[in-house]
């Protein structure tokens, strides 16, 4: 239950971080997932690159445009942000289901996304919100839709030499409602499943599920049905139609229904 030896570097800027990244190194953000994996020796990197000192990645700002969240921003900062609570309430709702308060005090927004646990709350919420993820490497920058980023459990489109630097969440339509629902056996544990929904007046919607398969999924058929005027119950069934296991499908249907109803107020 102790990590195997590793080399440790704690650079103070993104520029210094990038050359250290690669197959043999792990990025240490909040450490709430990586450190358990180190302790259990499920991860045995040669080099741990601690980005907690990279102050340029610690921000939440909007300036009238999209919400921009630096990757090292603590989850508790997102939870406490008035800006987020007022204008991106889905993130405020979702973040309160992430771990416990003693986890959110260290855990980071970027870490939760880059770790890519299929049962994590933030990835699903970000997919529902149509977020973009910004990556940097020594070779340059690129941005991906959150819905393209997750490729499998703990596996993403991030290349070994890339660092997730920012989460960008577009402005939400005026009057859009949001809903988030999940089921976990104990509050704060990883959820069995959950659903996130944003519904704008007129029916334009973003709906995503967590714990429904190997990656968080955007429920596009359900979004189309809702825009076409379908009832929430029918939309929820569509959202969960591809979930494999019968119990999990029933659970996802119910949670999607609750999230959509909440969003439609």
């Amino acid at each position: 239950m102790k990590p195997s030896p590793f080399e440790y570097r704690a650079p103070a800027s993104v520029k210094e971080v990038l050359p250290l990244l690669g197959l043999e190194s792990s990025v240490l953000a909040g450490g709430q997932s990586l450190v358990p994996m180190l302790n259990l020796r499920l991860a045995q990197p040669e080099l741990v690159v601690d980005i907690n000192g990279v102050a340029e990645l610690d921000y939440i700002r909007a300036d009238g445009g999209p919400l921009r969240i630096g990757a090292i921003t603590r989850q508790v900062a997102l939870e406490r942000s008035e800006l987020v609570r007022e204008r991106w309430p889905l993130l405020h709702k979702a973040i309160r289901f992430v771990g416990h308060h003693q986890i959110r005090s260290r855990g980071t927004v970027g870490g939760s996304v880059a770790h890519a646990d299929p049962a994590a709350e933030l990835p699903a919420a970000l997919i529902a919100l149509g977020a973009r993820l910004h990556l940097r490497s020594s070779g340059g920058v690129r941005a991906l839709d959150a819905s393209e980023f997750f490729l499998g459990p703990l596996y993403t489109a991030r290349e070994p030499g890339e660092l997730l630097v920012e989460v960008e969440v577009p402005k939400q339509p005026d009057g859009a409602g949001t809903g988030f629902a999940e089921h976990a056996r104990t509050h704060g544990d990883f959820a069995t499943a959950g659903a996130a929904a944003v519904v704008a007046p007129g029916g334009r919607a973003g709906i995503a599920l967590l714990g429904a398969g190997p990656v968080p999924v955007r429920a596009e058929a359900a979004e189309r049905a809702l825009a076409g005027g379908a009832e929430p119950r029918e939309v929820a069934a569509l959202a969960a139609q591809d979930v494999d296991d019968e119990h999990r499908r029933a659970l996802c249907t119910e949670l999607a229904h609750r999230a959509i109803e909440e969003a439609m107020g």
Binding site: P3, Y8, Q32, Q102, S105, G188
Partner: protein
């Protein structure tokens, strides 16, 4: 690596390999054995301490990450020899048996109640969900925390 950590108002200096967990530095480097080590994977909450006022799992931080930072452990709770309201309340409400989980509960809830002085029972129960106790049961703990929250609010 040489590190220097302020714990309960005192500076502790020591050598820590990068892989040394903060929980182990607190217990073995600083000799403060009030902080307990349970699961070492962030689940049980026994090792919870306060880092710059925020409750954190000390088993999920490397000791080198605490270099230059300020920590508070259970030894720092009782000011001037008198028990902290949470400690008195745990005593009164019989909120512990073996006591192994208690330091984690105290450090978690002290931070939580200071941030949420008006928390109701549901919120306190939710906040308690990050710490596990396997012998007392939670009723006494909930009672103690509610009582302490009232005391801390009025203090």
């Amino acid at each position: 690596m040489k590190i220097s950590v302020q714990i309960n108002g005192r500076t502790y200096e020591g050598d820590a390999e990068p892989r040394t967990l903060l929980s182990d530095f607190i217990r073995h480097g600083a000799g403060l054995t009030g902080t307990k080590v349970g699961c070492e994977q962030g689940v049980c909450g026994a090792c919870t301490v306060q880092l710059d006022g925020e409750a954190v799992r000390s088993c999920l931080m490397l000791a080198v990450q605490a270099n230059g930072r300020t920590l508070r452990t259970v030894e720092g709770l009782a000011a001037d020899g008198g028990l902290h309201p949470l400690q008195s309340a745990f005593h009164e409400a019989h909120a512990l048996q073996c006591g192994f989980c208690t330091p984690g509960f105290l450090m978690s809830m002290d931070a939580f109640i200071r941030e949420h002085p008006d928390a109701d029972e549901d919120q306190l129960r939710e906040a308690l969900s990050g710490n596990l106790c396997r012998c007392t049961g939670y009723l006494g703990i909930v009672e103690a925390v509610e009582h302490a929250a009232r005391e801390m609010r009025e203090a």
